[in-house]
Amino acid sequence: MSFMQLADEYQTFDFQGYFASVTPEAVGASLARAGQMNCLDHRDLLNLLSPAATDFLEPMAQKASALAVQYFGRTIGLYAPLYISDFCINHCTYCGFNSKTDFPRTRLSLEQIEQEAKAVSGLGIRHILVLTGEAPAKTPLDYLEKAVALLTRYFSSVALELFPMDEDDYGRLNKAGADSLTVYQEVYERDLYREVHPKGPKSDYAFRLLTPERGARAGFRALNIGTLFGIGDPRSEAFMAGLHARFLERAFPYVEVSLSLPRMTRADGGIAPKNLHSDTGFVQTMLAWRLFMPRVGINVSTRESAAFRDQLIHLGATRYSAGSKTDVGGYSVPSNPGLEQETTVQFEITDTRSVDDVACMIRAAGCQPVFKDWEIF
């Protein structure tokens, strides 16, 4: 069984009707059951994501926070993204790398990637997330393999956020040294998915949806998934992402599963977000996920503001990106030859603090920043 069957089942589910029917008593009952692994079911997750649950945020936070401490301790892992190419053949209506957006595209040479690696590892970062747009002709597999192998010399863990591939290609990248895979479905509602991905390979909903499963079978030890808040209805999208994470936890027990909850920010050529996820909604999503899956990792990116991220430390988050640059060559410009021109970011960074500043904030919050949590042994 793949996640497609569950996803199909929920395409016709009346989310709004269910959410409207949730009573405070139902939320209270779900919350009371929370605290053990797998003690909450799909209905409980819906209850905790419902409007009625917004009146329970504080008790949800208390329980979620205690669970995070129990399973992860008072630690926050740190990582940084590294964009190596912004060429893209997709037409995603919300993305700055959209193929229709006119800007000078860049693909880093291996020498330039090394410059970037030196710059990021010099900040103390040991976990790197490598990103590209989707343009296999510009970033073929052998180029990616070489890039991964090079990065393993500078980082103890190399995660990928590339375009979906088949199992064999992932196997080759895993062999080259990449150990984890990030892929966001962006939006689980199929009709909406079709609308915002009108052309390009990304328009294949099913191929994207089943990417984490191919990644797990190919040997990646960690999977990170999520939905891009700002496209679909936040509550039902949060539910589908949670359901997807639990499916992966059970189907691949040897894989570490984590969730991200990126919110759309402004991007060149991109549409404005249709469904803004409020700060309250964001927190409610985090708490509901933590209560539903005590062991799941929860990543918070620099899309969120510094002040907001400071508060999320105690609400169940486990990993933060820090010192992020979302443009190609962003870490070593202007010292990187050939990259002096102004580059285009995939999305805007909101928390612009340095890695040291983020680490200081984590310490001040009574937690330990963890720069290294795995090694490619």
């Binding site: 059970r250 949590d373 090694e375």
Partner: protein, 257 residues
């Protein structure tokens, strides 16, 4: 009375083993060690960064008087565990190695089969191998034959603080094992540590309960006292239990023959 825990060629006066994970700050580790008197502390090699600055270097936070017990946390296979152990030794972390091979990321339960395989290899290479296992008398015997220096059955899932969920199985290992038995994982309260020691365990390893306490040094001390009390109770051979009342002044005590 000399009562020391012998592991490989080393002996320890404290039977409380501690851990380094989950602390709010690495700076809390040394005071915890001092307060608890723990002489053996486990550290995940995956978190050791030789290039880290002093303030982020976990090895710099461990007192010189304390023996390092590197662990293979993160390993999913025997092969990975063996590689981690060899890297650990090459990095100067000593000959101790705690084998952790986990293939269930939800409950973090050890994989006994992979653990035995790694123990077989590493014991032959001269490591002092302390394997973390699901409590099972067969695996305890096999680990002895493989050259392990102790067996470390879990009390309950790692980090769960649920105590000795596996008490009956652990007792069988204690009763049959020729290796020291150190209960690892799940101990959340000093009373549970004392209970494990009363049962006859040779030691306990406590991490989450100490590392996530509000006062980690005081928690370390509390566990140390509990371990000592439990050990003393075990050695003293406490009276057995009875389902019925027994008068402390028997009515027939006057009879002499």
């Amino acid at each position: 009375m000399e009562d020391r825990l012998i592991l490989g060629d080393q002996s320890f006066s404290s039977r409380l083993l501690t851990g380094t994970g989950k602390f709010a700050s690495k700076d809390l580790i040394a005071p915890m060690l001092e307060a608890s008197g723990s002489e053996l502390i486990t550290v995940a090699l995956r978190r050791v960064d030789p290039k880290a600055r002093a303030q982020d270097n976990i090895l710099a936070k461990i007192l010189d008087s304390v023996t390092l017990l590197p662990n293979t946390s993160g390993a999913r296979t025997a092969r990975e565990a063996v590689r981690i152990a060899r890297i650990s030794r090459a990095a100067g972390c000593g000959d101790f190695i705690k084998i952790e091979v986990i293939t269930d990321m939800q409950f973090l339960l050890p994989d006994n089969h992979q653990t035995l395989e790694a123990t077989n290899i590493l014991a032959k290479e001269g490591f002092i191998v302390l394997p973390d296992v699901m409590p099972d008398i067969t695996i305890a015997r096999q680990l002895h034959d493989a050259g392990a220096s102790a067996v470390m059955p879990l009390g309950s899932p790692i980090g769960s603080n649920q105590g000795l969920e596996m008490a009956a199985m652990i007792q069988r290992i204690i009763d049959t094992s020729r290796l020291p038995v150190i209960v690892d994982a799940g101990i959340g309260r000093p009373s549970q540590a004392a209970c494990a020691m009363e049962m006859g365990a040779d030691g306990v390893l406590v991490n989450t309960a100490i590392a996530t306490a509000q006062d980690t040094a005081l928690a370390g001390q509390a566990f140390a006292l509990a371990v000592k009390a439990g050990r003393m109770a075990y050695i003293s051979k406490l009276g057995d239990q009875s389902a019925t009342a027994r008068d402390s002044s028997p009515l027939t005590g006057f009879l002499r023959g």
